[in-house]
């Protein structure tokens, strides 16, 4: 293998050339892309609606309850991490 290959041909050689690696690359990138994209969009949404969502006001009501440590994983909590 030549050492002076530029990154394009490296990508070609390791990813695009074989269908198996290509599919793998598609799957892996889509997983990461979707995670980041979802987080990005939710961050935008929260920024637009600062102070209005439950997540922004729940601290006012939470301190007394929930001693048993059990809390239902709501969609909001999952998105807030």
């Amino acid at each position: 293998m030549k050492t002076n290959k530029n990154y394009k041909s490296l990508i070609y050689h390791y990813i695009f050339k074989r269908t198996s690696t290509f599919i793998l690359a598609v799957v892996v990138t889509s997983v990461f892309f979707e995670r980041t994209y979802d987080h990005l969009c939710e961050a935008i949404f929260e920024r637009i609606n600062r102070g209005r969502l439950w997540r922004h006001i729940k601290h006012k009501y939470e301190n007394n309850g929930d001693e048993d440590g059990f809390s239902m994983p709501s969609a909001d909590d999952a998105a807030a991490d």
Binding site: F45, G65, D66
Partner: protein, 308 residues
């Protein structure tokens, strides 16, 4: 519009044959070129008439609404009015208080369960406490008997009346509808409910109200079986917001907006996601089109006759 008019009237001047071999080919393909003057005129007239009738119907449809004897609710600027705006959860929490203290005396909310409130207007502990306040008939137990137990998160909000007949009997024959989906079930939605709650006034001369009826210009027909229920200081908000009538009405509308559209906030996030991905794909498609067409547009076809 302008393009099709132009095509009918002045086909040749739009597509100049001098601008290259491809264009002159296209020019030859147009079917309107051979039309007689009369035919072109007729087609243009038909087009104008069709457009005119459409515009007329549209404007008639808009103005016909003035015929009904009912006041139309104005459009208010709600917290969720506009692109990507979420519901106001603090307002919805107060709205729940309003429902519980005022509306629940007559209206059911049967499609909302206590578990729905968790993570929306209340914490789980609070929702459990709310649910425990009610008594639910459950059973049969292992003796086959029905019994009463305190409510659980999975229980739905109890209805004030056991059935519609009982509700009518208690309200002079008028049936207080279930409020779960009322915002989606009425023209004007939350604007209507707000106007209805705050719009009570004395009936104008000539309107006779029967026993138990009240006048409300926003209610179709004017005579509504529900009395005015929202006044200044009709309840006290736990968070100290001054309970003036418009605030109370706004908060209960915010709550009812949510009961009708549990997924409202998710839809806003989804809109952001869709528009983002959509514009990305749009840009890609645009590039792809240019890329493919650069080939087509740069191709020259030449006919070279065989030399003998």
């Amino acid at each position: 519009m302008a393009a099709s008019l132009g095509r009918i009237c002045r086909t040749t001047s739009l597509l100049k044959p001098s601008s290259g071999p491809i264009y002159s080919q296209v020019n030859n393909f147009t079917t309107t070129k051979e039309w007689s003057k009369g035919r072109k005129l007729l087609t243009a007239c038909l087009g104008v008439t069709a457009g005119g009738i459409g515009a007329l119907l549209f404007s008639l449809d808009r103005s016909v609404r003035a015929i009904e004897i009912v006041a139309h609710a104005p459009h208010y600027h709600w917290p969720w009015t506009g692109l990507f705006q979420s519901l106001d959860h603090a307002s919805m929490r107060r709205g729940w208080e309003v429902y519980k203290n005022v509306c629940s005396a007559c209206h059911s909310l049967e499609y909302v369960a206590y578990r729905h409130l968790v993570g929306v207007t209340h914490t789980e502990a609070e929702a459990k406490a709310l649910a425990a306040e009610i008594e639910v008939r459950d059973g049969p137990d292992d003796q086959g008997n029905y019994f009463m137990r305190p409510g659980k998160l999975s229980d739905h909000i109890p209805s004030p009346y056991p059935n519609e007949e009982a509700a009518r009997a208690a309200n002079n024959g008028a049936y207080p509808p279930d409020l779960s989906y009322i915002v989606n079930a009425r023209h004007g939605g939350e604007d209507y409910v707000f106007s209805l709650l705050t719009g009570y006034c004395d009936p104008p001369a000539g309107i006779v109200l029967r026993e138990g009826q009240n006048f409300n210009p926003y209610f179709p027909g004017g005579a509504i079986g529900m009395a005015q229920v929202i006044y200044d200081e009709v309840l006290e908000f736990e968070d100290g917001t001054p309970p003036v009538a418009s605030q109370v009405a706004k908060d209960v509308c915010a709550f009812l907006m949510w009961t009708s559209n549990h997924e409202y906030d998710d839809r806003q996030v989804l809109a952001i996601k869709t528009i983002g991905i959509g514009s990305l794909l749009c840009a890609l498609l645009f590039y792809l089109k240019r890329f493919k067409f650069s080939h087509v547009k740069n191709t020259k076809l030449a006919f070279i006759p065989k030399k003998k």
